[in-house]
Amino acid sequence: MSPNIVAILPELWTAIGQTLLMLGIGLSAAVLLGGPLGVLLFLLGPGQSLERPALFGAISWLVNTVRSFPFIILLVALVPLTRLIAGTSIGPVAAAVPLSLAAVPYFARLVEQNLRDVPRGVIEAAHAMGASEWQIVRRVLLVEARSGLVLGLTVLAISFLSYSAVAGVVGGGGIGDLAIRYGYYRFQTDVMVLTVAILIVIVQLIQFAGNGIARRLDKR
């Protein structure tokens, strides 16, 4: 093994842990906040049962606005908020704040799009049986769209694996940060290759797991 790699080996384990921590917090926020937001966006949308054009327009505009920020700008711009929430503006937990904020509208959009693929007739049948909005969300929309939602979450996880590399700017750490600091700035090509290889493996694993779960959930 090359001396460069041996030198960063202890740091590598920490980096993997930091990456997973950032992803875990970001994806949890996406599911817990972005999920309901996406469902709301769908229900308020044109032709749906809670149709409210003005409210839909406002939420949609907000989602688009947050999503239009380049992530690195969001990262810097949010430093005051990060300090408020995480108590610090550096480290992986701090980096998870802007990461979460970017993930929420991203996932909300993915959820909205997937719910639109649920056939109208199935929702209508549930209405005809006397189901409430909440029952339709829980027993119809989430059931019928579940494999698409898992695939959406897979896309999100992979996008945010690469976003998390940018978190190195605020000392977030992670594998991507390692690649930049050693591989890029110090011209240690072997470290660069190793870290990128690790990222490739993680991406492949996430996609493989996502596809597998989605296939098992899909009975259509």
């Binding site: 209508e124 049986m129 019928e144």
Partner: protein, 281 residues
């Protein structure tokens, strides 16, 4: 079922569904209003199988959807089992819908749920039945439509006719008074159409459920319905009993009505010929 009849419906055959001067119009994309249903009054007697026919765009599906308020009427009143539907609040409407089963052209089953879970759906959302009751009722309903062996299948594993029969079982699970059918056989071939019609007839006969069926297939009306209303341009053009065998052709005002009369006459002649054949054999 006792006590389900309202005091107003004191006639010999109380109305299961009664529409009074119901209208519904839509705003078209170009801004003009389209009157889908114009001031329609209709009475479906309890225990009947009532057909609603018409060319596409005649307003028959809209009329059906006004009964359980999937469409809200602009004017008029709708009574189901003596209860006024139009004035109900959201929660009351949900309760009222339990007594109105509905099946659709595209079946509209949950694809990611088993046949059991599909039929259990209406029982679970109303939350009164214990898991044991749900289990028993689902089996009862699937037995009625002859699909008990498919209880653990997913809809994708069933044929079109089987899917529609699962939909019928689902509609029947909460013991409705009326069953609304929106083109239930239009997506099926003639073979499976027959099995679905047999099931509907069986449901009507054994459970006394009133069936209101929208279709454009005259053969379905002939095979199933006792009475039929012909819709044209959003209005009920005429109503008559399907099995009237007298040559009413001249009296019928609509093309569909005359067509049905002719089919009835042909069937009559066919019967006579068969009887003659049998006599000479």
């Amino acid at each position: 079922m006792a006590g389900a009849k309202s005091p107003q419906a004191s006639a010999a055959t109380p109305a299961a569904i009664r529409l009074e001067g119901v209208s519904k119009s839509y705003r078209l994309p170009n801004g003009t209003a389209f009157e889908a249903v114009k001031n329609v009054s209709l009475c479906v007697p309890q225990g009947d199988i009532f057909g609603l026919i018409g060319t596409s765009g005649a307003g028959k599906s809209t009329l059906l959807r006004l009964v359980n308020r999937l469409e809200h009427p602009d004017a008029g009143r709708v009574f189901v089992g003596g209860r006024e539907i139009v004035a109900l609040g959201k929660a009351e409407l949900r309760v009222a819908r339990q007594s109105m089963g509905m099946i659709f052209q595209q079946f509209n089953l949950l694809q990611n749920a088993t046949v059991f879970d599909n039929v259990a759906f209406p029982l679970r959302i109303h939350g009164k039945a214990s898991p044991g009751d749900v289990f028993r009722r689902v089996r009862e309903c699937l037995d009625l439509v002859g699909l008990l062996d498919k209880i653990d299948s997913h809809p994708a594993q069933l044929s079109g006719g089987q899917k529609q029969r699962v939909a019928i079982a689902r509609a029947l699970a909460p013991r409705p008074e009326v069953l609304l059918c929106d083109e239930p056989t239009s997506a099926l071939d003639s073979e499976t159409t027959r099995s679905v019609l047999d099931t509907l007839r069986n449901v009507n006969r054994r459970l006394g459920v009133t069936v209101l069926i929208v279709t454009h297939e005259l053969a379905v009306v002939r095979a199933l319905c006792r009475k039929v209303a012909v819709m044209e341009g959003g209005e009920v053009a005429e109503q008559f009993s399907v099995d009237e065998t007298e040559p009413y052709r001249e009296c019928r005002r609509t093309a569909l009505g005359r067509e049905l009369a002719r089919m009835a006459i042909y069937a009559d002649v066919q019967n006579d010929l068969e009887r003659l054949d049998a006599a000479f054999a």
